[in-house]
């Protein structure tokens, strides 16, 4: 039922980039998503999905409108108008003040240089800030400190009431592309090739005053940093446009490990050099990073790579997981991985341990996922070594979701409620488990019957 068609490189002619994408047949036993709901509303590319609570999420995109949806029914809850340009960042901000009742807020930043705070329960605009000199490109909420940060050409710190607490000086015209919270009241901001660590410290005078100080600049990346993710309290990871992946210590901001050979097929014995030459920077750029406790999952170009933090090497990969760039990946609790791509598809992968060690004449194209992180060593040696002491992993395609007609920008995993995907075709699709939905409907049906007094149970 499962066919592997990877490894274009092993084809005698060395061509066929297209055929190198792994495909799955129409029969997908493990794919639970057998029902879908199309949510229409947006008039332009939908770029962001953000979860508000267990059953609600917000979507935003280039049309500047934010929609709130019910993830179970697909019902449109609110339509938030306020921005005049496309949305550039969105962050949920659930205030859990002990004094007040729980309020679900979302903060949105737009290219019209405003930031708006919305109340999700009433669908109303709470506050609006428009004192920015440049577009805010990223938003981070520091729940612990009850403040949030906006990153544009400078870094600003705000409290919940949208009071500007402090800000940095003008950093760069390009602006901050990513922000991540670090321990000890620190944040890491990706500014071009540099990674700047800021520290927030309580100011001496005011009760709620904060100061923001630049602590350190890290300049290890060769190119612009494209992704930044915190793994745990001790580690965070960055990825750049040229395929570098650096693991940092979150406390002393030192480089723990780096991997920069995702794209370098020369390390791999069976990949021919032509392919390497044809690779454009776009194909090796680290688009998105996600992690669990053990591994970092990187969307690099069209491929997905699994980097083990302990082993400090790539343990599994799918070089051409999609026909086009992978835009977003997410690790699910059940060892599954979901990726979405510009090719308009969403794929579900499972990280599996290989049962049987391959013997020597293994068709290399078939198991081409090992051997990474051994840049300067002989492939044979690497293979032998791994056979000796490490388990083998591979990413198996267990299902794909085809519905969007254009690039799938992002998705949101709602557990058993399903999966929401958003796309450049202006649509959001809710993918659901058909079996579960069917039994839920039965439940509703019998409830309604009971309400109408038509239900007679005879045991």
């Amino acid at each position: 039922m499962l066919r592997w068609l990877i490894g274009g490189g092993r084809e005698p002619q060395g061509l066929a980039e297209k055929s190198s994408v792994q495909t799955i047949g129409e029969e997908q036993i493990q794919n639970p998503y057998t029902e879908l709901l199309v949510l229409k509303g947006h008039q332009d590319i939908v770029r962001f999905l953000v979860q508000i609570d267990d059953c609600r999420f917000a979507s935003a995109g280039d049309d500047g409108i934010i929609f709130l949806w019910n993830a179970q029914t697909g019902e449109k809850l609110y339509e938030l108008h306020g921005h005049t340009h496309k949305i550039t960042a969105i962050a949920p901000f659930s205030s859990s003040d002990i004094t007040e009742e729980k309020m679900d807020l979302i903060i949105t930043a737009s290219a019209d240089r405003t930031v708006i705070v919305w109340d999700c329960s009433s669908g109303r605009q709470v506050q609006k800030a428009s004192c920015f000199h440049s577009t805010v490109k990223c938003l981070t909420v520091l729940q612990r400190l009850n403040v949030w940060l906006s990153g544009g050409s400078d870094l600003c710190v705000w409290n919940r009431k949208l009071d500007l607490l402090c800000k940095t000086s003008h950093l760069t015209d390009a602006g901050i592309s990513a922000l991540v919270e670090l321990p000890k009241n620190c944040v890491a901001a990706a500014v071009g090739k540099e990674l700047i660590i800021f520290r927030l410290s309580a100011s001496n005078n005011g009760s709620e005053g904060w100061n923001v100080l630049e602590v350190k600049r890290l300049v290890d990346h060769q190119d612009n940093i494209s992704s930044l993710v915190s793994v745990n309290d001790l580690t965070f990871v960055t990825g750049s446009h040229v395929g570098e992946l650096i693991v940092w210590d979150a406390l002393d901001w030192t480089k723990q490990a780096s991997e920069c050979n995702f794209w370098d097929s020369s390390v791999h014995p069976d990949v021919q050099p032509e392919i390497k030459l044809s690779q454009s920077p776009n194909e090796i750029s680290v688009q998105h990073l996600t992690s669990d406790e053990e591994c970092v999952f990187a969307a690099v170009g069209k491929g997905i790579y699994v980097y083990n933090l302990q082993m400090k090497r790539v343990i599994a990969c799918q070089r051409t997981a999609h026909d086009s760039s992978v835009l977003h990946i997410e690790k699910l609790p059940n060892r599954q991985l979901i990726s979405c791509s510009e090719d308009g598809s969403v794929r579900i992968w499972e990280l599996r341990e290989k049962q049987q060690l391959p013997a020597e004449p293994v068709p290399t194209g078939f198991f081409n996922m090992w051997g990474f992180g051994r840049a300067n060593k002989q492939a044979n040696q690497a293979a032998k070594k791994m056979q000796e002491n490490t388990p083998m992993y591979f990413l198996e395609l267990v299902g794909d979701l085809i519905g969007h007609s254009s690039a799938v920008q992002m998705f949101l995993y709602f557990g058993e409620l399903g999966l929401a995907t958003c796309s450049a075709d202006h649509l959001i699709i809710l993918w659901k488990d058909g079996e579960r939905e069917s039994s839920l409907r039965s439940l509703t049906l019998f409830k309604k019957l009971a309400q109408n007094g038509d239900l007679q149970l005879r045991l």
């Binding site: 036993i29 057998t34 029902e35 879908l36 085809i402 699709i429 039994s439 049906l445 309604k448 019957l449």
Partner: protein, 932 residues
């Protein structure tokens, strides 16, 4: 959907099957001798006994006071239809039963004419010699120039099949009542207009005469009157009397109880909006113009459209004048509406009676299946009152027409204002009469004007009495609500008992007695001699066929006014006023000899209350039990099963009981086939109620589907795709061919909701996911252009949601089907040859599927655990076992039922009025490519 293929064999179809499937002729020895009367295309069951017309038609006749009974028009308006049938003779026959021509213009004891709001009568007539049987609906229209102001008309549905008339009596009656109400409403409007004009003429004449008399008086100083002066004075007096008479007529026609129409079920025609608006206009208008000085000049400036004429003292002899045509008698808008309705009736009842009956029964049964019937049924076909909606729509469109009418209506009160002046000229207390009249149009609001009601009720009394008494004497099958009005009169009678000045009361009484008199006259006028003896004998049982007089309706009708709170709440002043008005209104009636008589109606009241008259005698029907046993005795069903009941009654009463015994009635099919033995109609049978177009569509779809099944060996997986909710794309270059295929396959597509079928006949652009959500069957253009490449690309991209039938290369790409249901549904070796037959076959199998899906959906334990602890797996097991063992489904058939069940759930859960998100369900199953 519920069909009986053996019945269908009797229906005829023009576009028959291919010659390919015609069987070779039988060998001589096996052949049955031909039916002697078999002409071209006649079926052996057809009853050809000498009817001279080719198909059923509707005839409208009039009993003209000048030339006697004459046919006016037929529907369809085609000479071929009636053929050699003697319309004149038949008009004579049907009009001769009319009893309502007996109108008395001036009832003895009354100073001025009274109008009867006579109920229509419904009669069934037969003329075995002519081979014609007719449902005859008598009605009267008002015409100021006619004798007694009424013109008797009748509408007759003429058929060669007496069973058809008898069995469809209820339906015919309902439909014709609608037409009649429409016509009468228009007529009342026209009559009121005519009266207004006449009043203006009279008023003008009076002014002229008055002036002349004054001049003569001045010129005359001799102290005695010249004969000329006396003549003038007489003339003036007669004009004034005439004015009062006409005024009264106008008030009577306006006081027609519209509410009655609104309450009763079958007056969809009544353009309520128009009337309401007219009422509103009537209410608002009088204050606008000043009632205090109702000068004629003032009046006429308001109505510039009509210049009054001087009226000669003596009207022309009745044979000199030309009577108005039917069209002139009725408001144009209503006249066309009536004709539309009659055409609708003609279409509805076209065809063989067995077909109509099957249709009605299946419709009645389907209506009960409210949970599942949306799946494969045309819901509009099940709709309760489709024609009404249609007419409503028409009215909505005809906004201009309504506005026009409103303006006409709003003119009326202005004329009414002058009533005050009329009154004053006969030396009555000048009262604002306009209020009274205006209220009479809206009886609900007129608590203060009791006298009006009383008068109305007097008329009603008269009507009702009339119709009842006539019902006793003639074979009247149905007079509407004959009993209901009696209660009204009772409740009415109780009204004046409320403390009131004596003078007013006595006058009320006098008016009431007057009306009573008129009733007497009316009923005596009905002579037995009018009824030909053979007519009476031909349907003895029919006499008792009065439709249920709805007591409740009558009782309820006046409750608002009987409500003591309302009455008590009124201050005395208003009562006083109303009584004074009575005074004014009745001042002409003073000559009445019955002036001082006690109120006879009050005495009558108790006996009427016994309800003896109210409930018409019903024949004992032993068969009904048995009949009801055959069907679930459900309230909603009674309407649909009515044909049976009626039939059993007729059969027991009529001569040919032997033809189908009551036992046979138990078996619906055998009964129907016996009933089918008379086929009056040689025209193709359309559906009852369903529009002919829909019927044709079904027939064509069935035929195409049959062809598809025979042509394509992979029809089964294609149909399975449709039934399991997988969108099927029919891909092809030729639009006509694709559309034909889509039409053929559309009969297998379950509806997702109460909307139209999810079928798109022709698409030229690339498809998206949203389309598969919306449409389950799509005809798609295959183009060679770049756009066409896109289209194909989209198809391959979304292939998991689709089955693709390539009409050009005759291939099908879709999942495998190994079930058995579709094999029964679409057997390519089927012996069925007609499209409509096959359609019914499909519907019956789909009904089976629906019932399985229903069972599956609504069995609690199949979906929910019996106890808290029960694991999910055992529920799943139970579910699968039920599907496999109980429902006997195999393989993919399970998926069909599951899909239908899912649709049922969605439909049931869905909040009314809340669209809900359409969802797309799909499976990850491999597809295969089928080739011929």
């Amino acid at each position: 959907m519920i069909s009986a293929p053996d019945v269908v064999a009797f229906t005829r179809e023009e576009e028959l099957e291919d010659d390919l499937y015609r069987e070779p002729p039988l060998p001589e020895e096996y052949s049955v001798p031909l039916f002697p009367f078999a002409g071209q295309g006649a079926n052996p069951w057809a009853k050809v006994a000498g009817s001279k017309f080719t198909r059923d038609f509707i005839l409208i006749s009039e009993f003209s006071e000048q030339v006697g009974p004459q046919p006016l028009l037929t529907i369809p308006d085609d000479a071929k239809v009636s053929g050699t049938f003697d319309l004149n003779y038949f008009s004579l026959r049907i009009m001769s039963v009319d009893y309502q021509a007996s109108f008395v213009g001036h009832p003895p004891g009354s100073a001025y004419p009274k109008l009867n709001f006579v109920e229509d009568s419904k009669v069934v007539l037969g003329d075995s010699k002519e081979g014609a049987f007719a449902y005859v609906h008598h009605l009267t229209l008002y015409d100021l120039e006619a004798r007694g102001f009424v013109r008797p008309f009748c509408m007759a549905y003429i058929s060669a099949d007496e069973h058809k008339i008898m069995q469809q009596f209820q339906e015919l009656s309902t439909e014709f009542s609608k037409a009649s109400e429409c016509l009468k409403t228009g007529n009342r409007k026209a009559f009121a207009n005519e009266l207004e004009k006449k009043l203006k003429d009279l008023d003008y004449t009076r002014t002229v005469l008055h002036n002349e008399t004054e001049q003569q008086k001045k010129a005359n100083d001799k102290g005695y009157y010249t004969t000329q002066a006396i003549e003038k004075a007489n003339e003036l007096a007669s004009v004034e009397k005439s004015i009062i008479e006409h005024q009264d007529l106008l008030r009577q026609i306006r006081s027609y109880p519209y509410r009655k129409l609104k309450e009763s079920e079958f007056h969809p025609y009544e353009p309520e909006c128009a009337l309401d608006r007219a009422d509103v206009g009537g209410d608002q208008d009088p204050p606008a113009s000043d009632p205090a000085e109702p000068g004629e000049t003032h009046l006429y400036t308001h109505v510039p459209s009509y210049t009054p004429k001087l009226i000669k003292a003596k009207s022309a002899k009745c044979f000199d004048k030309k009577l108005k045509t039917l069209e002139e008698l009725c408001d144009v808008y209503f006249f066309t509406q009536t004709l539309d309705q009659l055409h609708h009736i003609e279409r509805t009842f076209r065809g063989d009676v067995c077909y109509l009956l099957t249709e009605q029964i299946s419709r009645a049964l389907l209506k009960q299946q409210s949970v599942t019937n949306f799946l494969f049924e045309d819901v509009s076909f099940l709709d309760e009152k489709p024609p009404e909606k249609q007419y409503r729509g028409c009215q909505g469109l005809g906004q201009d027409a309504i506005d026009e009418k409103c303006s006409e209506e709003s003119l009326a009160p202005k004329v009414v204002i002058s009533l005050g002046s009329y009154k004053s000229s006969v030396e009555c207390v000048p009262i604002k009469m306009e209020q009274e009249v205006e209220n009479s149009e809206e009886p609900k609001m007129s608590e203060s004007v009791m006298s009006e009601h009383q008068e109305n009720l007097d008329y009603l009394d008269a009507d009702i009495k009339g119709s009842i008494s006539s019902g006793e004497s003639i074979e009247v099958l149905g007079t509407e609500k004959s009993g209901s009005g009696l209660i009204k009169s009772e409740s009415q009678a109780s009204l004046p008992v409320i403390p009131s000045p004596q003078a007013g009361r006595s006058k009320v009484g006098s008016r009431r007695t007057v009306s009573e008199d008129s009733i007497e006259v009316l009923s005596t006028c009905l002579s037995e001699s009018l009824i030909p003896e053979d007519f009476k004998a031909s349907y003895p049982s029919a006499i008792n066929e009065e439709p249920y007089a709805d007591d409740d309706e009558g009782g309820l009708r006046f409750t608002p006014r009987l409500n003591p709170g309302v009455d008590d709440g009124q201050d005395d002043a208003s009562k006083q006023e109303s009584l004074v008005q009575v005074d004014a209104a009745c001042c002409i009636g003073k000559e009445s000899p019955s002036f001082l008589e006690p109120l006879p109606e009050l005495g009558q009241k108790p006996c009427e209350e016994d309800g003896v008259v109210r409930i018409p005698p019903q024949p004992y029907r032993p068969a009904e039990q048995g009949l009801r046993g055959g069907f679930p005795s459900h309230d909603g069903l009674s309407g649909g099963v009515l044909p049976y009941e009626l039939d059993s009654r007729y059969l027991t009463g009529s001569r040919d009981v032997s033809k189908s015994s009551l036992d046979e009635c138990l078996d619906s099919t055998s009964y129907i086939s016996s009933a089918a033995s008379t086929c009056s109609d040689r025209t193709p049978s359309p559906a009852h109620l369903a529009c002919a177009a829909g019927e044709r569509h079904r027939k064509r779809a069935g035929q195409n589907a049959l062809r598809f099944i025979r042509q394509y060996p992979f029809a089964h997986p294609a149909i399975y795709s449709l039934l399991s909710g997988r969108t099927l794309i029919v891909l092809g270059e030729d639009e006509a061919m694709v559309k034909k295929l889509v039409t053929a396959l559309s009969i297998f597509v379950p509806n997702c909701g109460v909307y139209a079928k999810p079928v798109k006949h022709w698409v030229t652009s690339a498809l998206h996911l949203v389309d598969f959500q919306k449409w389950k069957l799509i005809g798609l253009q295959r183009a060679v252009s770049p756009a066409g490449v896109n289209v194909l690309h989209a198809l391959s991209r979304y292939s998991r949601y689709l089955s693709i039938l390539d009409a050009d290369s005759k291939t099908l790409r879709c999942p495998l089907y190994k079930g058995t249901v579709v094999a029964r549904l679409a057997d390519h070796r089927t012996q069925i040859k007609r499209g409509s037959t096959y359609y019914m076959h499909v519907q019956s199998i789909l009904t089976q599927l629906c019932s399985k899906a229903f069972l599956f959906t609504f069995c609690h334990h199949l979906h929910l655990p019996i106890s808290e602890r029960e694991p999910e797996e055992s529920v799943v097991n139970r579910r699968m076992n039920f599907l496999k063992l109980q429902l006997g489904l195999a393989n993919e058939d399970i998926k069909i039922v599951q899909y239908l069940a899912e649709l049922l759930k969605l439909h049931y859960i869905q909040e009314p009025g809340h669209g809900g998100n359409p969802l797309l369900r799909f499976d990850y199953v491999p597809s295969f490519l089928y080739k011929i």
